[in-house]
């Protein structure tokens, strides 16, 4: 399924609150990773440090530390388990393929479904609500840059966008802008046209506008 542009595969189990997916891979064995919306929320990871193989982890304790330039938090264990293996060197590619890039593999010491995990379809409505209230949306390609621009005038919003775009975005890279009124979709598209840049995608969510620009020159 696809929610607000974010791929959420039907065949996985989810802890929606903590943006975690779970895949059964054998008797009592499960792979655990982070969903695409997680990375749109906190940014591109710079460090993922799993706890050691063999660790017994209680439900709600950390399986791994996840760090981005503006976030450091835990990948919470969705059930009581033991870590059987860890996936090394995944920082670079995890945002490109979050559902194939598991972080840890676990042996469950309880039935995961008893711990409140939701199957794909069951998770859908809850995820929709979470993304809307959290103002999170996804695009076809994961952007190199993201800014949230809330200002009093559309002119000021575009000044901040332009300042960031021309100072920090390199040719070929993309910038994800989250903004809202008084900017409109028309303004955001016209700006790109005037600047001879490309709008890759645009999404609207209540009064929030999510725009993905690409620097072409």
């Amino acid at each position: 399924m696809n929610i607000e542009g974010c791929e959420i595969p039907d065949d996985l189990y989810y802890d929606v609150e903590n943006d975690i997916w779970v895949r059964g891979v054998g008797e009592n064995l499960y792979q655990v990773g982070l969903t695409l919306p997680f990375f749109y929320r906190v940014g591109r990871p710079t460090r993922i440090k799993p706890r050691p193989v063999g660790s017994s982890i209680k439900k709600g304790s950390s399986l791994a530390t996840v760090e981005t330039p503006n976030y450091v938090g835990a990948l919470y264990s969705p059930f009581n388990c033991e870590i059987t293996s860890i996936n090394e060197n995944i920082v670079e590619n995890i945002v490109k393929n979050p559902y194939k890039t598991w972080v840890v593999q676990l042996r469950a010491v309880e039935n995961p479904l008893d711990s409140g995990l939701l199957a794909g379809e069951e998770a859908k409505a809850i995820y929709e609500e979470k993304l809307r209230t959290g103002k999170v949306a996804c695009f076809k390609t994961f952007p190199e840059h993201k800014i949230i621009v809330l200002a009093e005038t559309c002119e000021k919003i575009l000044t901040i966008v332009g300042d960031y775009f021309f100072k920090h975005v390199k040719k070929g890279e993309s910038l994800y802008v989250v903004t809202q009124d008084p900017a409109t979709e028309v303004d955001m598209i016209k700006w790109a046209k005037d600047m001879k840049q490309e709008v890759l995608e645009i999404r609207r969510q209540d009064n929030i506008i999510h725009v993905l620009y690409r620097k072409v020159t």
Binding site: R41, V42, K49, R51, I57, G60, S61, S62, L63, T65, E67, P69, N70, Y71, V72, G73, A74, Y76, H145, I147, V149, I160, D163, Y164, K167, H168
Partner: protein, 284 residues
């Protein structure tokens, strides 16, 4: 390994684990962005200080006044004799700023958790989303300590008259050289001009911490600062963009290395870089 000059100002993970239920201890998470930190899980029993809302005056540019500090402490259940342990996101940037504010209002016993959020999650991994409630206290600020802070006018006097002064600019090399006025994610912290205060040396704050967020050893720190002429015999003023990273380096110099004369110029570049007819240095 040499002990830090003020070991009472710093605690490790084990200390916090052993004092989670100690009623004389209050653990405080200080965040720049609580939505991505405290609200996602924090140390059991820890209260939140939201750096922007709780540490800064809502109207004029200043830290909170003594009355607001008293109200904040009372709300968090901190009494004058409570041992306060600060930790936070961004490798304790904002926890260090809060430590500086606690010292300005002369709180007796305040400490920093070495390694902050990152080290706690790495090593312990136990977090909660439950927000604790403690009985309100009647906190009183008994003395305001002016030794650790310098305002622009005094900084200018020091610069003119004190050959022993060393100014430490703890921002990134790009900010110091004048390539950028501020990192792009801090849209509200821009200045009219980019560069640094004449005579300042650049020692980015992050060089004082290891990859796991803990502070470097005394030997490593002495070497790092000594190589740029920042030694115990100097009168030292630290600055950054808005004062929070400067307080991190202030903490390192004063409490880990024991240097006596260290002050934070919290006006920092967002003040100095906006002054008219004040010479600055731009290297690009």
């Amino acid at each position: 390994m040499t002990q830090y000059a003020h070991p009472e100002a710093i605690v490790d993970i084990e200390w916090v684990k052993n004092n989670l239920n100690n009623p004389k201890v209050r653990i405080v998470e200080v965040d720049y962005d609580p939505k991505l930190a405290y609200e996602q899980g924090h140390i059991s029993g820890a209260v939140l200080v939201d750096w922007r809302k709780d540490m800064n005056d809502p109207v004029q540019r200043d830290i909170i006044g003594p009355e607001a500090f008293e109200k904040l402490m009372s709300r968090l259940g901190i009494a004058n004799d409570t041992t306060v342990v600060l930790y936070g996101d961004y490798n304790n940037w904002f926890a260090a700023f809060a430590f500086w504010v606690f010292k300005l209002y002369d709180h007796d016993d305040v400490k920093i958790l070495n390694g902050g959020r990152k080290k706690w999650i790495d090593d312990v991994g136990e977090l909660t989303k439950e927000v604790p409630n403690y009985p309100q206290t009647q906190y009183k600020v008994k003395r305001i300590n002016l030794e650790d802070r310098v305002f622009l006018q005094d900084l200018l006097k020091l610069k003119a008259a004190n050959p022993n002064l060393v100014l430490v600019d703890v921002r990134s090399p790009a900010e110091f050289k004048g390539e950028i006025t501020a990192p792009p994610e801090y849209a509200n912290e821009q200045t009219q001009r980019a560069g640094h205060i004449p005579g300042a040396v650049n020692i980015p704050w992050a060089q004082a911490v290891n990859d796991d967020g803990t502070f470097k050893s005394v030997e490593e720190l002495k070497k790092l600062y000594g190589e740029k002429g920042v030694t115990s015999d100097k009168d030292i003023v630290t600055y950054c963009r808005i004062g929070e990273r400067a307080s991190h380096t202030w903490f390192v110099l004063k409490y880990l290395l024991g240097y006596k004369n260290v002050k934070v110029y919290d006006g920092s570049w967002t003040e100095y870089g906006n002054l008219i007819r004040f010479p600055i240095v731009k290297e690009v």
